[in-house]
């Protein structure tokens, strides 16, 4: 039994290849079922717009080739189309890859957290068709644990990196909760629409849309039960707005410092946030000097987004160390689990000896009452437990740090244990590194 990962991602493959390999709708469940009926003991398929990856527990043969063939046959694609882009990881290297993916370290936007939800969904769908066993369970639990650690210990996903999300984040840092806040859009272009979408998702429910063409203003305002205004009405309605998203493209400023000053007075100096993404600017920059007024133009937002990305990159090193720790932990735990059958067999062998000897003795001690006989049997079992306690503990530790096959071979020979099959431990870290080298790396793909 061994972990195998085969897939393509945004890093090395064009969207034309990824879309052909994707598993839309219930084809994912069909794929999982077919994978498991063709030799995989367990399987999970992660299919997103940026990656398609198969995580399988599959033994023997040229396993990577078999999974590649599965992908090719399932989607009806020629081998040469996908082969240059496919990567493969085995053993701990596969775990390392998944843990990096879950932490957002392999994402298009470094540190993004959307992938975590997609991994959870992939696991849940595989679980629902019964293709998740112990290895996949442990592996994906480890991935979720790693992601949680990375995000709490490094804050990797904290600082947002797109202009719209930075604008929403800044608004949150001014107003706290955005529920019940009112947004005024000045201009009804695409950027304004996108920013409005972000604000609506963040909880804003009151919308005013001011535009030169009232018809366009209505088009944006009506779906969110907002109010459409003409440009002349901006000044009059300004005190009602907590957040102003300006993108009209008018040749001169539409919102003057005096308008903001008057609005603030009427609002009892409650803060106002102006997101001016128009060029030329719609809001007079001087307004930023007023108390409780905050004016951010497109450059300010882009600069903040860039700095946030820089902060994420600074945290990436720390996140990689956490991933390394968690892979070590996962591999060690998996190795220690591999030794479980031999421990079980050892216990059984000792118990059998003890029971046989107790039976012999009880024949000679026929005068003992039933309760005393039970006590003798219990005593023998306790001695077995006590004798094995320390060696078993050492054995588990040894398996975590070293090679469980070697340890089990010695135990089998010493105690004459027969017919014990280990549950296929992960390769050691050194073996895992070799496995990584065999994958098609970025250089080769380039």
């Amino acid at each position: 039994m061994s972990l195998l990962v085969v897939g393509v991602s945004h890093k090395h493959s064009p969207v034309e290849v990824r879309e052909r390999l994707a598993f839309p709708g219930d084809s994912l469940e069909k794929g999982l079922t077919r994978l498991c009926s063709s030799g995989a003991a367990e399987a999970v398929i992660l299919s997103t717009c940026n990656r398609v990856e198969i995580y399988a527990n599959r033994d023997g043969g040229n396993r990577g080739e078999e999974l590649l063939d599965f992908l090719r046959e399932f989607h009806g694609i020629e081998r040469e189309v996908i082969e240059p882009y496919v990567y493969e990881f085995q053993g701990s290297a596969g775990a390392h890859h998944l843990f990096r993916v879950s932490a957002g370290l392999d994402s298009l936007v470094l540190g993004e957290t959307q992938i975590l939800g997609q991994i959870k969904e992939a696991y849940a769908r595989a679980d629902s068709v019964g293709t998740v066993g112990r290895l996949m369970h442990e592996l994906f639990q480890g991935a979720l644990r790693t992601a949680k650690r990375v995000h709490t210990e490094t804050g990797l996903g904290e600082a947002l990196v797109s202009v719209s999300s930075v604008a929403v984040d800044l608004a949150r840092k001014i107003f706290g909760r955005l529920d019940g806040k009112r947004v005024m859009l000045v201009g009804a272009g695409e950027t304004a629409e996108l920013t409005l979408k972000h604000f609506l998702e963040a909880g804003v429910s009151n919308v005013l849309v001011a535009n030169r063409t009232l018809e366009n203003a209505r088009r944006l305002a009506e779906p969110c039960e907002g109010v459409a205004l003409e440009l002349d009405a901006i000044s009059e309605n300004l005190p009602l707005a907590d957040i102003v998203v300006a993108s009209s493209g008018a040749p001169q400023a539409l919102i003057l410092r005096e308008d903001v000053e008057r609005a603030l007075k009427l609002r009892s100096h409650s803060p106002m946030f102006f997101i001016d993404i128009a060029v030329p600017r719609d809001v007079q920059p001087d307004a930023h000097r007023l108390d409780n007024a905050y004016v951010y133009n497109i450059d300010d937002l882009q600069q903040t987004a860039a700095e946030n990305l820089g902060r994420r990159q600074e945290q990436a090193g720390h996140a990689e160390r956490i991933v390394g720790d968690e892979v070590e932990r996962f591999a060690a735990e998996w190795r220690s689990r591999a030794i479980v059958p031999i421990i079980r067999s050892l216990h059984q062998s000792f118990r059998d000896v003890a029971e046989a000897e107790v039976r012999k003795s009880l024949k000679r001690l026929g005068h003992l009452q039933e309760r005393d006989q039970g006590e003798v049997q219990y005593l023998a079992q306790r001695i077995v437990q006590r004798l094995l306690h320390e060696p078993v503990r050492e054995l588990k530790q040894d398996a975590k740090e070293g090679d469980p096959f070697l340890t089990s071979a010695v135990l089998e020979r010493i105690f004459r244990l027969r017919g014990v099959e280990l549950e296929g431990p992960e390769p050691s870290m050194s073996e895992a590194k070799e496995a990584v080298i065999t994958k098609k790396g970025p250089e080769e793909l380039a």
Partner: protein, 281 residues
């Protein structure tokens, strides 16, 4: 009322725990490592627990609150400040104010070691009705001051956030601190709680001086502690009035609470220097 060697040693440990808590909470602000936060919380709760034990032990031993020496009231104020901070951190999520509050507490503790005056105030009752009135008067005043200090810490965070926003280059720390409106609300709450306590304490103080002690008004009305307390009260009452009438808010209120903290410290110092006694606070 001098502290025993053991008490001094335990207070030293409390001071050290608060200092470590201040340093680690500051470190957590910049690193966001949960382990650092755990150490900080452990230190502050351990320090607070130990200090609570010391306060109770002192109270049981002398059968009254530890308010009968300058050093005692000083340490009680620090204990109440940490208590108010811990309650605030649980209820209002103001843990980010920890570095400032805990630093103040650690500095306050250091001050109490440097300037320890274990001498008991003369002729002050500790039992009966008059003792109870005095204890409630002093304690409510101390709690009121603790809330004003909390408002100061929140005000500092507010100013920091505003400066970050106005600079157009908010740092990572900006995104981890509470929102401006939340800070403004918390600032208001701290003053709203602190001012009635201060008012109650002052009324009780007048009753104690005139009713219980039977002092003529001319003897206490210009007493430095009464004057300084009245100044503090007038300042915060004006601040609250301005805030509630919505004429002033945001940055100006934050600046005023910082100024209020300076007035509180000066008033305490003045009362201690010119009129050391129970009315000092």
């Amino acid at each position: 009322m001098q502290m025993s060697t053991l008490e001094s040693l335990l207070h030293g440990i409390v001071a050290l725990l608060y200092l470590v808590a201040a340093i680690t909470s500051l470190r957590f602000l910049f690193s966001s490592r949960p382990n650092v936060q755990r150490v900080s919380r452990l230190c502050v709760w351990s320090g607070w627990g130990l200090q609570t034990g010391l306060v109770l032990w002192r109270a049981f031993r002398h059968d009254s609150l530890p308010i009968h020496a300058l050093s005692e009231t000083h340490l009680l104020l620090l204990w109440l400040l940490v208590t108010v901070y811990l309650i605030g951190a649980q209820r209002w999520r103001i843990e980010m104010a920890g570095p400032l509050i805990l630093s103040l507490v650690a500095v306050g503790y250091a001050g109490s070691f440097l300037w320890e005056s274990g001498q008991a105030y003369p002729e002050e009752p500790s039992g009966g009705w008059s003792g109870l009135v005095l204890a409630v008067h002093v304690t409510t005043a101390l709690i009121g001051h603790a809330f004003f200090i909390l408002a100061f810490a929140i005000g500092v965070l507010y100013i920091f956030q505003i400066r970050q926003l106005k600079s157009h280059r908010p740092s990572g720390l900006f995104f981890r601190l509470p929102a401006l409106e939340d800070l403004d609300r918390l600032n208001l709450r701290a003053v709203v709680v602190g001012l009635p306590l201060m008012t109650f304490s002052m009324v009780l103080g007048i009753y104690y001086a005139a009713g219980v002690r039977g002092m003529p008004a001319s003897e206490w009305i210009w007493h430095p502690s009464v004057v300084s307390s009245a100044l503090v009260w007038i300042f915060y009452a004006a601040l609250l009035g301005a805030r509630l009438s919505a004429r002033v808010r945001g940055r100006k209120i934050a600046v005023l609470t910082i100024l209020g903290f300076i007035i509180v410290i000066v008033s305490i110092a003045m009362a201690c220097v010119f009129a050391p006694g129970l009315g000092a606070l």
